[in-house]
C-alpha cells in the first residue's frame, strides 16, 4: 500500500510536468490555432540558461527566475520573428515550422553546451517525509505544488486582469479583437511568452531527475501531446487532469504490469488514447468541433 501511494504521488509530480508543457501547447493553440512541437525544446533552452548561470555561482532560485524571464522573451521573439509569417496560413506548414524550430533549438543547445548529460541541481531536497506510515519524496510534492501554483497564477492572470481579458479576446476571435483596438500582434507575443515561461518552470523542475541534455524533453513532449489529445484542445483543465492521469497510470503500469516495465511505459498514454478514441473521439473533456463549410 505504501508503495502504491508513493507511486501515485510520484506520478502526480511527473504528470504535473507533462501538464505544464501540455498547458503551454494549449495556450499557444488557443491563441494561434497551431501546435508548437518546439514547446519542450524551448523549455530545454531556458533550462540550459539556468544551468549555465548556476555554474557561474548564481544561486539556483535566482538562476531559474532569470531563465523564466529569458523564456518570456524567447517566446515573444519566436512568435514575432518566426511564427507570425505562418499563423493563419496552412496549419501543416506551421507545424513543420515548429518542428524545424525544435531541431534548430536542439542543435543550438548541443552546439553551445554539448550533447553530454549535465547535472542540474535540485530545487528540493531528495529526502522523504513520512505521512501516515507512507514515505513520500519531498521533490515530488514540491514539483507538483510549484506547477499547480504556476497554473493557478496563470489562471488568475487570464480571469482576473485586463491583460488576461485581452488575451482571451484574441484567442476567441482575433479579427474582432483587432477591430476593437487591441494590439493583436503584441498580445500574441505575450501569449507565446507566457507559454514558454510555463515550460521553463517545468524544465527547471524536471531537469535534476532526467539530467540535462538537448533532447531531455522529447519524450515529455510526447506525453504532453498525449495529454492534449486526451484532454481535448479546447479544455485547459481537462489537459492538466489528463496529464495527471497519464503520469499516475504510467507509473503504476511500469511497476505492476510486468510486460510494460520502465522502458515501455511511454506506450501507456497511447494505449489509453487508442481506447479513448474508440469511445470518445473528441477527447475526455473536449467539445466536438463543428465546422461550417
Amino acid at each position: 500500500m505504501g508503495k502504491f501511494v508513493q507511486l501515485v504521488v510520484d506520478g502526480l509530480s511527473t504528470g504535473s510536468v507533462y501538464g505544464a508543457i501540455a498547458l503551454a501547447i494549449v495556450l499557444v493553440n488557443q491563441a494561434t490555432g497551431l501546435i508548437n512541437f518546439a514547446q519542450g525544446g524551448m523549455a530545454v533552452l531556458s533550462t540550459y540558461v539556468a544551468w549555465w548561470l548556476t555554474t557561474h555561482d548564481v544561486p539556483l532560485i535566482l538562476a531559474i527566475l532569470v531563465s523564466i524571464l529569458f523564456s518570456l522573451a524567447l517566446g515573444a521573439v519566436v512568435e514575432r520573428w518566426l511564427m507570425r509569417r505562418f499563423e493563419r496560413g496552412d496549419p501543416d506548414t506551421a507545424v513543420v515550422v515548429t518542428i524545424g524550430l525544435l531541431t534548430l533549438i536542439t542543435g543550438i543547445c548541443g552546439w553551445l553546451f554539448t550533447y553530454n548529460n549535465q547535472q542540474f541541481p535540485s530545487l528540493f531536497s531528495l529526502d522523504t517525509v513520512s505521512f501516515l506510515g507512507v514515505s513520500i519524496s519531498i521533490r515530488s510534492i514540491g514539483t507538483t505544488v510549484v506547477i499547480v501554483v504556476a497554473m493557478l497564477l496563470l489562471q488568475g492572470l487570464f480571469v482576473g486582469t485586463k491583460l488576461g481579458l485581452a488575451l482571451r479576446a484574441v484567442a476567441i476571435n482575433p479579427q474582432s479583437a483587432a477591430f476593437s483596438g487591441l494590439p493583436v500582434g503584441r498580445l500574441l507575443m505575450v501569449g507565446w511568452g507566457l507559454a514558454a515561461a510555463l515550460g521553463a518552470v517545468a524544465g527547471a523542475l524536471v531537469a535534476p531527475q532526467l539530467t540535462l541534455t538537448p533532447g531531455m524533453l522529447d519524450s515529455t513532449l510526447v506525453y504532453a501531446l498525449a495529454a492534449v489529445i486526451l484532454g481535448g484542445l479546447t479544455s485547459p483543465i481537462g489537459v492538466v487532469v489528463a496529464a495527471w492521469i497519464i503520469g499516475i497510470l504510467e507509473n503504476l503500469a511500469a511497476v505492476y504490469v510486468p510486460f510494460i516495465g520502465f522502458d515501455l511505459k511511454v506506450a501507456v498514454p497511447f494505449i489509453l488514447i487508442f481506447v479513448v478514441l474508440i469511445v470518445r473521439p473528441q477527447g475526455l473533456f473536449g467539445r466536438k468541433v463543428v465546422v461550417r463549410v
Binding site: 497551431l34 501546435i35 512541437f37 518566426l82 507570425r84 509569417r85 505562418f86 493563419r88 496560413g89 496552412d90 496549419p91 501543416d92 506548414t93 507545424v95 513543420v96 515550422v97 518542428i99 524545424g100 524550430l101 525544435l102 531541431t103 534548430l104 533549438i105 536542439t106 542543435g107 543550438i108 548541443g110 552546439w111 554539448t114 550533447y115 482575433p174 479579427q175 479583437a177 483587432a178 477591430f179 493583436v184 500582434g185 538537448p214 533532447g215 522529447d218 519524450s219 513532449l221 510526447v222 501531446l225 498525449a226 492534449v228 489529445i229 516495465g261 522502458d263 515501455l264 511511454v266 506506450a267 498514454p269 497511447f270 488514447i273 478514441l277 473521439p281 468541433v289 465546422v291 463549410v293
Partner: protein
Amino acid sequence: MATPSTSTASSVWQRPWVRWAGPLLLVVVLAVMPLVLSEFANQTIARIGVYAVAVLGLNVVMGYTGQVSLGQIFFLGFGAYVTAYGVSNDWNIVLVFALACLAPAVAGLLVALAAARLGGLAIAMVTVALPIVGVPLAKRLSDFTGGSQGMSARFAEAPEGSGLYDDQWQLYIVLIIAGVVFLLTRNLVRGKYGRAFAIVKGNENVASSMGISPYRYKVLAFTIASLIGGVSGFLYMLVIQYTSPETMTFGHSISLLAAMVIGGAGSIVGSILGGAYYVLVPQLTNEVDPSLTALLQGALLLAVLFVLPGGLVSLPRALTRGRRPRAGRGSAAPPTTPSSTTGSGTAAEEPETERQGHA
C-alpha cells in the same frame, strides 16, 4: 525527370520522340552508372535510393494528403527488422520482401484507423509516438530484434556468373525496386486517388460533400505510406546490412520530414532530392563539425520554409519568376492585423499554390 515541366509552351518538349527519349536516356544512364562509378559512389547512390523511397512514402501521406506524419522512420525500421529476421531464418527472399512490405502496412493501417479519427493535427501528435515507442519496443523484443545490439544480415551478394561486384549488384536492385515504387506512386498520385488525396488536403468538408470520405482516404494514404516505408526498410537492410533500435530514433524521423520539405512536398522529383539531402548533407556537415548537424538542419529547414516553401524542386521556377518582386513577401503579416487588409485572402493561399509542383 529530363523533361522539366517548367519550360512553358516550348513545342519541342511535346514531340513524342522527345517525351520518350528523356526517360529512355535516364534508364540508360542508370543502367551504365553502377558499372563506371567507384564503390563509394555506388554505395552513396544506393543509400540515396533507400531514403528517396522513405521520403516518397512520407510524401504520399504528408505532401499529397496533407497529414503531418512524424512516424515514417518507424515503418522503415519495422521493414528493416522484418527483413533481418527473415533473412537470418533463411526464408525465401521474395517472401521476406512481401512480409517487409505487408507487416508495416498492417501496422500503419491499425495506427491510421485510430489516429485518423481525430481531425486536423492529431495525426501529427499521435505519430510522434511511433519512433519514441518503437525504440524501447525494439530493445525489449530482443528475441526477434537482437535488442540494443541490433541485427545484421547479408543477402545480396552478386551472383557468381554475373561478373558484378556486390556494390554494383546492390545498386541495381535498389534502382529497380525504387524505380518500380516511384513509377507506381507517380501513377497513384496522378490518378483518381491522387485527386482524392488533393481534395482531402485542400478542404475536408468539400471532400466529404463530394462523396469522398476524408477518413477513408487518410487511412489509405497512411497505409500506402507505411507500405512504402516497409519497402525502404527492405532496401535499407540490403544496402546497410545492419539495423538496431537507433535506426528509428525520433531525430531520424524529424530528419526525414526535413528532407521531404527541403526536397519538395508533394513532388516525385522532390522525394529524390529529399533522399539526396538526407544522405549527403550530414556527410558534409560531419566533415565540418558533427555537433553542428542538428543546428544546420533546423536552420536549413526554416530557411527553406521562409524562402522556398515548395522546396528545392521549385527552385528553377522560383528563379525564372524571381525577376519580379514576389507577391507573397508583402503579405507576411497575418491578415488579422488591421494594417494588412489588402490581399489577406491570397496570403493564406500563397503557400498552397506554390506547392503544386508535380514535376
